[in-house]
Structure formats: structure tokens, C-alpha cells
């Protein structure tokens, strides 16, 4: 790794720490930085209310934001390299549509069968998480099956998009036959939420995301070869089918788990790899990986800070914030750098 890369990573790490502290300190109640540092380093502070808020609400949410940003960024990068397509993102394979279908079935069908909202438990319940996971992994299973049958990655992309449309249509049909309050409950889920995870859930979430991120790092050598196209990669001894299988599996694990716990979070997955390539002019996955992980975490924390509308009681839907504040940044960069298309062609 060059000195420049190490320097950039150092700066990004610094920004990440600052934003993480800001993220914990800002909210409906302002908590001073010293107290945050004290609680995080394991000490007790005088204000037990603050301590409670930090440990049980804000710290889990900050950790979730960091993992969601990194995970979505990496899965977007994996998809863009696999499909050599700038529009690819974590959800092109239909993962989030699958999760949405699972949740829609749980909420809409569940309510029709007479379950109340409290039984389904909107806001970080295991029923929603499990049904989203089942939906995501059902789609993953089919996509992997298809990926073993088709020769080229482009066909797979089309199949993924078709899956997205088909599952989306089923959700629409379910909505058509549902009551207003169940549709609203489903809509709330689609807004996305970083705050729903307790330490209980983080015990599952953290290891899954970290293992998947580690797994993706092992792919960096093959991904670099894939930048030259399938034919070159094959001629350099890369087993395309095996690599493609691992890429799809890792992406689905990341995107599926994140969607299951936090809802379908848009934009980050597509934008972070582009932002990283544009700002740092990088293409080599060994440097892209750490940068994408850090950038994803930073942007997610920043979006969450905005979503909390500092000093206010309410929070905006995180899904809206990522797109409303993220899209102008990407547009500005694309216009300013003018070399956007170059990172996808020579």
C-alpha cells in the first residue's frame, strides 16, 4: 500500500471517530463528549439517565450505522465489479425485494389473519427480522442456482432485475388486499431504521457483518483480475464460477442481513463505491476495500446525525436522508470530476 493510501485511510479513520462521537452526543438530549468517552471506556457517570441512553440506545445505533454503511458500500462495490456496470448496487440481485416480500407477507398477511400490530411488534422485532431474512435468502438461493446455470454475468443481472420486479408486484397485490393500518406498518418498515437494534440483536448482526466483510477482503485479488473482464480473468487462472458464487454469497449475506435488521436502505450501496473511486482515483480493490468501508461508515453516521434533526424530538426516515443529502453530493462530484465514466471504461 502506498504512503498516499495509508495517509488517506488515516484521515478517514480520524473523521470516522469524530463523527461517531458526534453521532452519540447529538439527539433529543445533548450529551457532552467527556461523558460519552467515559461511558465508552467502561466508567460510570453521575447522570444515570445519560448512561442509560448511551449504552442502550445511542451506542448500538452508532455501531449499527457504521456496519450498515460499510456493509452496503462493500456489497455495492462487489456488484459493480462483478457486473462491470455503474448502476449495479447491493440490491440488483433482488435481495431487498425478497426481504420486502417476507416482511409484507408477515405484516399484511399476518394482520389479515387477525394478529395485532403489537403481536408483530413494529420496530425491531424478531418476527420482522426473521421474515425479511427468509425472503432475502429465498431470493439468494434462486439467484445462486441461476448463477450456476448461466455463462455470463449480464444474464444474471437481468434475472436479478426480473426477480425484483416480480416480488415487487406480489407485494403490490398483497397491499391491494390489505387494511390501511397494515399498509402503513409496512411502509414504516420500508423507511428504514438504524435504531431498532438492541444488544441482543447486535450479537447476531456484528459477527455476521464482520465475517462477510472479511470474506470480501479475501476476494480482492480475484476482483482485480475481474476488472479486465471474464476472459482475461480466466486466462490468469481465476475460477470464474467459484469466484462469482462467493461474490454473490457475500453480497447477499451483507445486503440480506442489513435489510432484515434495518429495512431497505437505499442509495449508500450504489453511491459509496462511486464516491470512493471519484475522490481517490482508485481502482485496485486492495485500496478500495478499506476506503469504501470507511466512507460508507462515515456517510451513514453523517446521514443519521441529519436524520435526528439535532435538538428536535422527531427523527426523519433514514432512507429519505441518505438519498436527499447524498444524491446532490454524487451529482456534484460527477459534474466536477468529469472522469466518472472513465472509471468504468478505458
Amino acid at each position: 500500500m502506498s504512503n498516499k493510501t495509508t495517509g488517506i485511510i488515516g484521515v478517514l479513520l480520524f473523521v470516522l471517530v469524530i463523527l461517531a462521537i458526534l453521532n452519540i452526543s447529538i439527539g433529543s438530549v445533548y450529551i457532552p463528549v467527556e461523558d460519552i468517552l467515559a461511558v465508552v471506556s467502561g466508567k460510570n457517570i453521575d447522570n444515570s439517565g445519560w448512561q442509560n441512553i448511551i449504552i442502550h440506545f445511542r451506542l448500538p445505533k452508532a455501531i449499527t450505522a457504521i456496519l450498515v454503511g460499510s456493509g452496503l458500500g462493500i456489497s455495492g462495490l462487489l456488484m459493480q465489479t462483478l457486473f462491470r456496470n455503474p448502476l449495479a448496487g447491493p440490491f440488483v440481485l433482488g435481495i431487498s425485494s425478497g426481504a420486502s416480500l417476507g416482511v409484507a407477507v408477515a405484516i399484511l398477511a399476518g394482520m389479515t389473519m387477525g394478529w395485532g400490530l403489537t403481536q408483530i411488534g413494529i420496530g425491531g422485532s424478531w418476527i420482522l427480522t426473521i421474515s425479511a431474512s427468509l425472503g432475502a435468502f429465498a431470493v439468494l438461493f434462486v439467484v445462486v442456482m441461476v448463477s450456476m446455470r448461466v455463462q455470463d454475468s449480464m444474464s444474471l443481472l437481468i434475472v436479478g432485475l426480473m426477480f425484483g420486479s416480480a416480488t415487487g408486484a406480489i407485494v403490490t397485490v398483497l397491499q391491494f388486499f390489505s387494511k390501511a393500518e397494515s399498509i402503513q406498518a409496512y411502509l414504516v418498515w420500508t423507511f428504514g431504521s438504524l435504531g431498532g437494534l438492541t444488544w441482543m440483536e447486535l450479537k447476531v448482526f456484528i459477527p455476521v457483518i464482520i465475517i462477510a466483510l472479511g470474506g470480501s477482503f479475501l476476494l480482492s485479488k480475484s476482483l482485480n483480475a475481474l476488472l479486465l473482464g471474464d476472459n482475461y480473468a480466466r486466462s490468469m487462472g481465476v475460477n470464474i464460477k467459484k469466484t462469482r458464487f462467493i461474490i454473490i454469497f457475500v453480497t447477499s449475506l451483507l445486503a440480506g442481513t442489513i435489510t432484515a435488521f434495518c429495512g431497505p436502505i437505499a442509495f449508500i450501496g450504489i453511491a459509496i463505491p462511486h464516491l470512493t473511486r471519484l475522490i481517490f482515483n482508485a481502482a485496485n480493490h486492495k485500496t478500495l476495500f478499506p476506503m469504501v468501508i470507511l466512507n460508507g461508515a462515515i456517510l451513514m453516521l453523517a446521514c443519521d446525525i441529519i436524520a435526528q434533526v439535532p435538538g428536535q424530538e422527531y427523527t426523519l426516515p433514514i432512507n429519505a436522508v441518505t438519498s436527499v443529502f447524498g444524491a446532490p453530493i454524487v451529482i456534484w462530484l460527477v459534474i466536477r470530476r468529469k472522469n466518472f465514466s472513465k472509471s468504468f471504461a478505458n
Binding site: 480482492s220 483480475a225 490468469m236 472522469n339 478505458n346
Partner: protein, 338 residues
């Protein structure tokens, strides 16, 4: 080259290539027998769609042959493991490259893929090989440029350097000179010729540069429309008429005297031409383009080229009338008005 290695780098044994869909086979080229020695440069020529790329892919082990076998260093290509084959054959393809942000050096370093550990860490011997490849292709000074900023010629050299860094005994190139200007075409072909001489690598190039390939290739493979492959030195192939067989179209004529293809005009008039070699050549070129056949017999139209004080002069004799002109442009105007 190590001593136990055989002289033959690639050998095709009754090879049949094409596509298989279910039980139906579509043979594109069949019954092929040919070989390439180490240190030999072979150009594969043939018209569009005749199956050059299919043959290259089959030799490189990327596509399964319908029947027969490809031997690489005396071992069937399908018996190689993917990494072993990657250390033996490297490719230069026409595929678009996805990441314009990669630097020249990063692309060349990718050639070390079959040798590095799971992280792709470059050892000293890898760095040495990369430097050697950059040096020999003369792109060391642009090694930090990103590839989207390169000219076509520099880009092609980068791809060749990558193939060299992969360090196989065999390099297979698919149309490495397409899109290049004349001087870059020659530079690239000269580079490949020198490489085969100096490194003992077997080099197989699919190309449409028939005239240049005649100057650099040790052997030519002609992929013919009757699914056959004709193998021989360029000179033998000219003398036995194989080239005329390859392109059988009445708009094209193979000029065996000069080893080049000519536009075949249908002549309506003929004339006799005399003059020194250079002026004769270019005058006849202009005459042919204007529908005049140049013949050796006596004709009612005769053109004699003389060296005057301020350059060439053309004496045009037509039915006894003599006209003197001072440029080919004038000559063409006069004969076209008759």
C-alpha cells in the same frame, strides 16, 4: 528454454472447433493439424467470421474443442490446472477493460496473478518481472498514468506488457494492431517479432494485417472458408496460390509480385506505359484507378515518362497525337476527357 522442454510449443492434432448446443454441433474449423515451435511467430489470418477467435479460444483452453486435441508443451491443454495453464499461456484480447482508473503498472502487475499469494502480494521476483515487462515494451516512463489517458498504441503495449509479466512460454494475441495507426502497427509487430527472437516465446497472432504479417511471421496459418487451416511460410503460401484461395471475391486481386492485395477494377480501356520504376509504379496506380489497364503490348494509346528539368513529364500519344503533361493530375484529366 530448459533442455527437457520439447521444441514444439503448440500442436493441434485433428482439432475441430466450434459450438455445441445440446447434441447438435456446429463445426467452424475442423481437421486441423498444425504446430508452433518455441521462438516462432505465427500469424493467423482469415476473413471475418471464419473462426479465428474461436480457434484462439480453443488453443488457450478457454473453449472446449468439439473433437481432437490441443497439445501445449506436449501435454493436452485440458489436462492443465487453471493456474498451471495461466503460467504457460498468456493472452492479449480485444475485450474492453472496465476500470479506466487502473494505472499502467497496476495492469501489468495483474499479470503476476498466477504467481502471487491469496492477497496478491508482490514479491521481489514479481517486481523484477514487472519492471522487465515495462522496459521491454518501452512504457516505463508512463507506468503511473491511468489507462483511460493512454493512446491506443500505449494501451496495446500495456496489454502486451501484462502478458509478458504473466511469463508464459506462449503468448496468444487477438488482433493486437486493430485501431492502431500505421506506425504503431509496425512498432507493435516489430516488438512481437523481437520478443519471439529474444525470449524464445511462441507467439500466435490473429490479424488482418496480411501485408505486415508477411514481413514478420515465421509461419502463416490461413483459416479458410472450407473449414481448413493452411500452414506454411508466407512465401510458400504466395507461390502455391493459397492467398488467392483465401480471398475469393471479384473486387480483390492478390498481387503475388508484391505480396499485397489490390482493388480489382474492371478495365474499359488499355494503354502501354514506359518509364522508370518509381514513376511507372505510381502512374499505373493512377491509371488503374481510372479504369485503364496497363499492358506491355503495343497499344493505340502510349504513355512515356521522361525526367524533365523540373521533374517528371508524361508524353501521351493517342492515335498519333502527342500531348505533354507535367503531373499525374493533368494526365488523368486528359485521358478521362478522351
Amino acid at each position: 528454454m530448459s533442455s527437457q522442454k520439447s521444441d514444439i510449443a503448440i500442436h493441434l492434432d485433428q482439432l475441430s472447433v466450434g459450438y455445441q448446443k445440446g447434441n447438435s454441433k456446429l463445426e467452424i474449423l475442423g481437421g486441423l493439424n498444425a504446430s508452433i515451435k518455441h521462438g516462432e511467430l505465427v500469424c493467423l489470418i482469415g476473413e471475418n467470421g471464419v473462426g479465428k477467435s474461436t480457434l484462439l479460444r480453443s488453443i488457450a483452453g478457454v473453449q472446449k474443442p468439439l473433437s481432437g486435441q490441443v497439445f501445449v508443451d506436449n501435454k493436452p491443454v485440458n489436462d492443465y490446472t487453471a493456474p498451471d495453464l495461466a503460467r504457460t499461456i498468456s493472452l492479449v484480447l480485444t475485450d474492453r477493460i472496465f476500470a479506466g482508473n487502473l494505472t499502467v503498472k497496476e495492469i501489468v502487475a495483474l499479470g503476476r496473478h498466477p504467481y502471487t499469494n491469496w492477497l496478491g502480494k508482490l514479491e521481489q521476483k514479481d517486481v523484477d518481472k514487472i519492471d522487465w515487462a515495462l522496459d521491454i515494451t518501452d512504457i516505463h516512463k508512463i507506468s503511473d498514468r491511468i489507462i483511460s489517458e493512454l493512446s491506443d498504441g500505449q494501451f496495446q503495449k500495456t496489454l502486451i506488457a501484462r502478458a509478458l509479466a504473466q511469463d508464459g512460454d506462449i503468448i496468444i494475441l487477438d488482433e493486437p494492431t486493430a485501431h492502431l495507426d500505421l506506425s504503431n502497427k509496425i512498432i507493435i509487430l516489430k516488438l512481437l517479432k523481437d520478443l519471439s527472437n529474444e525470449t524464445g516465446k511462441a507467439i500466435l497472432i490473429a490479424t488482418h494485417e496480411i501485408e505486415f504479417s508477411f514481413q514478420v511471421a515465421d509461419k502463416i496459418w490461413i483459416a479458410l472458408k472450407d473449414k481448413n487451416l493452411k500452414e506454411g511460410t508466407p512465401e510458400d503460401l504466395v507461390l502455391d496460390g493459397s492467398l488467392n484461395q483465401m480471398i475469393n471475391h471479384n473486387a480483390i486481386n492478390f498481387d503475388s509480385d508484391h505480396g499485397r492485395f489490390m482493388v480489382n477494377y474492371s478495365y474499359i480501356k488499355s494503354c502501354n506505359l514506359k518509364g522508370d520504376k518509381l514513376a511507372y509504379y505510381w502512374t499505373s496506380n493512377a491509371l488503374r484507378r481510372n479504369g485503364w489497364e496497363v499492358i506491355n503490348e503495343i497499344s493505340e494509346t502510349t504513355i512515356t515518362i521522361r525526367k524533365g528539368k523540373s521533374g517528371y513529364e508524361w508524353d501521351l500519344t493517342h492515335q498519333g497525337n502527342v500531348t505533354i503533361v507535367y503531373s499525374i493530375e493533368e494526365l488523368v484529366n486528359v485521358i478521362n476527357n478522351n
